[in-house]
Symmetry: C2
Subunit: 282 residues, 2 copies
């Protein structure tokens, strides 16, 4: 949280040379293409205040005009080879939502048995979807054969079409936050069964199932952080310079094994210590 506050404050201090002023030529030979301070703050606000929303949905309908804005935002993600592999199935029908909720219940019962003891109790206490409460559900798909056999840029990494579709989801998510609309991504679903419910062809991949609605409020932190399920990793621990393992944050750390340890180290306050030591976040 302090890192975010510092970033927003940083946007206001133009004296240090870090932020090119729009129209100033200090950093560029021509005009800067940076947004104004107010605009930049708004973009960061959307990014920092976006939440994975599973509760507090209001029954208020989302007007078509607003929904179209969100889907147009999604559609303006970049895509490998300009493939635009996504489609959006908009669901408002109660009986469809009920059928999807049943799929969630089945998948979630299977997932819950993977935890034991207090972790199992905590898992069962978490609200992980808002399928029926959200006025609108959207299934986002990826048509992997769109654009023919040779999609530009996809010869080496075939999954880039899925990656592009994720970028579209994030666009929608951020635009929704700006509109005051909460979005929850429900991943605990059998996608093949979901495809049968809403008629998605076998050849098309389901990427995301989203629940959307105006909300009574946005939480300040992710639900899983608040519930003590997992802590936020100080960003400095995730930044390597020139090659893997060369962190400004903490030279003693070594590779990914560390992060595993961090997650299993709840309550010993290393996150706080790490944050204090984080050169990058100062």
């Amino acid at each position: 949280m302090r890192g975010k506050a510092r970033i927003i404050r940083g946007l206001q201090s133009h004296g240090n040379g870090a932020v090119p002023k729009p129209g100033a030529s200090r950093h560029h030979n021509g005009a800067s293409h940076a947004f104004t301070m107010v605009e930049r703050k708004a973009v960061y606000r959307a990014i920092f205040e976006r939440r994975d929303v599973r509760r507090n949905f209001l029954p208020t309908a989302i007007p078509n005009r607003v929904l179209t804005r969100l889907l147009t935002a999604a559609h303006h993600a970049g895509s490998v080879g300009f493939m635009q592999p996504w489609d959006f199935v908009v669901i408002r029908d109660r009986s469809t939502k009920r059928a999807v909720k049943r799929l969630f219940d089945e998948a979630n019962a299977g997932a819950a048995v993977r935890y034991t003891g207090s972790r199992a109790n905590l898992y069962r206490s978490l609200k992980l979807e808002g399928i029926e409460e959200a006025p609108v559900n959207i299934c986002v798909t990826c048509s992997r054969r769109r654009g023919g056999p040779h999609v530009l840029g996809r010869a080496t990494v075939r999954e880039t079409d899925l990656y592009s579709t994720c970028c579209a989801v994030q666009n929608l998510w951020l635009a929704a936050r700006a509109e005051g609309i909460g979005v929850g991504w429900v991943s605990i679903l059998d996608h093949e069964a979901l495809k049968r419910v809403i008629g998605v062809p076998k050849s098309v991949t389901v990427l995301a199932y989203l629940c959307l609605g105006y909300v009574a409020g946005f939480e300040a932190r992710p639900d899983l952080e608040t519930a003590g399920w997992r802590k936020r990793i100080p960003v400095g621990r995730l930044i390597h310079y020139e090659s893997w393992g060369n962190r400004a944050h903490d030279k003693r750390e070594n590779g990914d094994a560390h992060h595993q340890g961090l997650h299993e180290n709840r309550g010993r306050g290393k996150n706080q210590a790490g944050r204090r030591a984080a050169g990058l976040e100062r």
Copy 2:
């Protein structure tokens, strides 16, 4: 383009009930959590003006403070089970960039032979990376084992950790646009070879290789659209209601086969006709 302009205009017309006024109680029982009009426009501006940038990079250094803002934005993407599976390898060293550029050249030579005739000529004329021109390269990875064997929400769809990492990339991309920084995603790279160049452990997946820098300008449209490689699909053709195939846009269209046809239908103007007929985009 007209769709986007309409959306921005739509944000200004508050009289139609489509956009909840911040603080107004018309749509909610309490205060609206929508951003102000200025803030919402800034978010849509970032989304619509973001480009996959491969040219026009300026040599201007990106200050650490600005780079940290971008990486903090990335780090605030949602992640399945709050897993935060991403790491960022920041590369400024010329010799490393040169080695990565060689990997691109090799992969691209292989990709180019997949096209024939005028398509091959067009392909070879495209600039598909800015590895050496961009002052900063960032390799974004996904540590698929972070968080232990049972990541919440990932039992049914194991790829959700990759999807979360893509959302982080999109956050970075949009924040960069607001900062006036262009970002290009280079997907034509052998990721295993890339891992050897920058020392990424075998167990960690490379998700994206990004080139960043302040730019002389942002293009109005995607390069591949301008080059005539592919057209933008009217968004209404990608929206289905309640179940797949039920489009408001054009009831005659049938399933995904259509989109294949659309892509192969260059020059016959169906995009324009489709846009005019698009009820949703009006």
